[in-house]
Symmetry: C2
Subunit: 357 residues, 2 copies
DNA sequence: TCAGCATCTGTAAACGGTTGCAGCCGCTGC
DNA sequence: GCAGCGGCTGCAACCGTTTACAGATGCTGA
């Protein structure tokens, strides 16, 4: 592999000149620069990132740390960030922390130490200790999905989004509305769920409705969890006429259970999700849309700007939300679900479950 | 930031000893090792990856290059690979090549040169030039989803999987079966589609059925493409009674269109997908299941094994497929779709489209 | 002609590790 | 008593860049 010395020899100049010429610094005669570039091309030379990084202290890489890189939301944001950093010639180092163990290990070992110029934390609610660990890295840190003073962040207004979703249901005439969240079973703290609950609660309070704790179920932010949560709601003496799920994936699970139970959406149950997942349209799910990839990309750019030295590139930004009305929501049926449920239920369990497994 | 010299001074030994002690090499007295480890801990010392990499020539990082890091399949495989490399203390550098331009740029600039110890190519059909470029990297290269002599690979038997899917339909009594593939509009070559077509074709041929080219439509391997492809099939004078989509995402699009058209699945149309997408169960889609994350993880481990020096860790592996029968497939209705279609069609276009946009 | 200056270029010292080689030490066996 | 040996340890070269500094060069104006 050719080194800078080879190029210098071939171009008849010193390594210092090669370095300057190749990086487009000033103070190199144009003719010299051309000779260097030509020599480098002939030798198929590329700088060694390790050597450059050792000399400069910069790595031209940013880390993305996220719990579930494969889930839709995270993958979208990740891809957005990847695009942004790639455009600037940076590399993207991915660190997944899918379990509490992996997470603990990550934050104690900090494998990204001295490996990256910036860190992008994707939907991870940092504990105080974790926050300190990242600050100790001495590189700009940015967050998607949460805020921290002194860190860049791109967020949405979860409270407002949830309020919009539930207000939509209220506007349709629903009065008994379930909430599907996710922090209880989640092995890691997850503030998003709580914030969305607040918004839902406020919407109810505004029309004088109380929060009914038996309608507040845990969907674990997954399809399977959403299924279980919906089953729980259906098994109540007085099931709700509508459900707001704090993520589309939980809503999908809910829809599955409803269909299996022979119930019709929205006649028997209205469902609103959150995110506008790629398949929300396929399942005709009413939801709160947020620009996911854009959030990742935006934060990536903010971090790189900060590296580039632009002052105060590290700000807090809020992305826009949009209610997307599809066909999973409608006016509640006059009769309500309660009477209907008992007849349906017998046909549900045995056959369906077996078929699915 | 503490350097190895600081540790050496503090422990009262030379840097060479620190290096050896910290990496667990032999020839260090246990007492010395403990002193070094203690000193390192007190100083909160971590080795500089750049310096280590410069000295050793290894980076302890592997690259993953993939066209669409955010799509379900890719994200799954990526997460699998990430897990595998993380377990071994390696980092994962992600390179997306979502457009032909990005792809061309990636393969000419090769930003991963001297940055990684191995490369994992995720579902990218390499051109000869691209293959050469990667070989020139002089590090082990592995593929998910395709094969190349001299490279590690983890694949599935696409031909057999497609054969299974179509045979399932034939077994149910279908004779006019559509195929939804994706290489025509894909901006990049995509052999998977062609291979799955072969399998489908063979299944038909085995029972004496011919390949009907008007039933071979392009779904672009996306939900939207699947919708358009299904619309095309429905607009035929003699639509098929069943469709095999080469990916679940296309099948989802097909299901959407069928539902919007007021057609019932599987009575009016059977649909089989491929992949067993996370939401295939939600949509009750019969499909060919493949272990996606496992393929990424397996290949990741193979590459690391090869780095570890284990001879011939670079092999070709084939992952198992499984037909998962859900409720999107059934026996064809006696009447067929053709007569039905005309009455349904009028109610389809105007209202539904508007509602969706 | 020459000081003064700007512009280019080269020298060499970092950057922070790894590792071949040699030296030291305490034993062992003769 | 001493050669031989094996286990530890240190010395110093090296990995491939960047960059402060100094030197060379050519030009300007007096």
């Amino acid at each position: 592999m050719a080194t800078i010395d080879d190029v210098a020899r071939r171009a008849g100049v010193s390594t210092a000149t090669v370095s300057r010429a190749l990086r487009g610094l000033g103070n190199v005669r144009n003719q010299t620069r051309l000779a260097v570039v030509a020599a480098a091309a002939e030798l198929d030379y590329v700088v060694s990132p390790s050597a450059a990084s050792l000399a400069t202290g910069r790595t031209r890489a940013v880390a993305v740390v996220t719990p579930y890189p494969s889930r839709w939301f995270y993958a979208q944001a990740l891809a957005g960030a990847e695009n942004a950093v790639r455009e600037q010639g940076f590399g993207l180092l991915l660190y997944g922390v899918p379990t509490p163990e992996a997470r603990a290990r990550f934050f104690t070992e900090l494998p990204l130490r001295k490996r990256v110029d910036a860190v992008l934390v994707l939907c991870l609610d940092l504990s105080a200790a974790e926050e300190d660990a990242l600050r100790g890295l001495d590189v700009p840190v940015g967050l998607v999905g949460s805020r921290r003073t002194g860190m860049a962040s791109v967020c949405i207004d979860d409270e407002a989004g949830a309020h919009t979703a539930v207000s939509h249901l209220i506007g349709l005439g629903h009065r008994r509305i379930g909430f599907m969240g996710g922090e209880r079973s989640e092995p890691m703290p997850f503030a998003t769920s709580a914030t969305r609950r607040s918004g839902a609660r406020r919407a109810l309070a505004e029309v004088g409705l109380e929060w009914v704790s038996e309608l507040d179920v845990d969907g674990e932010f997954t399809v399977g969890g959403g299924e279980r949560a919906m089953e729980r709601l259906l098994s109540l003496p007085y099931p709700p006429s509508a459900v707001f799920a704090a993520s589309d994936e939980m809503a999908f699970g809910a829809l599955t259970v409803l269909r299996r139970a022979g119930l019709r959406v929205p006649r028997d149950m209205s469902v609103v999700g959150f995110d506008d997942h790629e398949l929300a349209g396929v399942l005709d799910l009413t939801t709160i849309a947020q620009p996911v990839a854009e959030q990742g990309a935006l934060l990536g750019r903010m971090l790189l700007d900060a590296l580039g030295g632009s002052p105060d590139a590290l700000v807090e930004t809020t992305a826009a939300l949009r209610l997307v009305v599809r066909r999973s929501t409608g006016i509640p049926s006059a009769r309500g679900l309660a009477g209907r449920r008992c007849t349906e239920r017998s046909s549900r369990d045995p056959a369906d479950r077996a078929a699915h497994q």
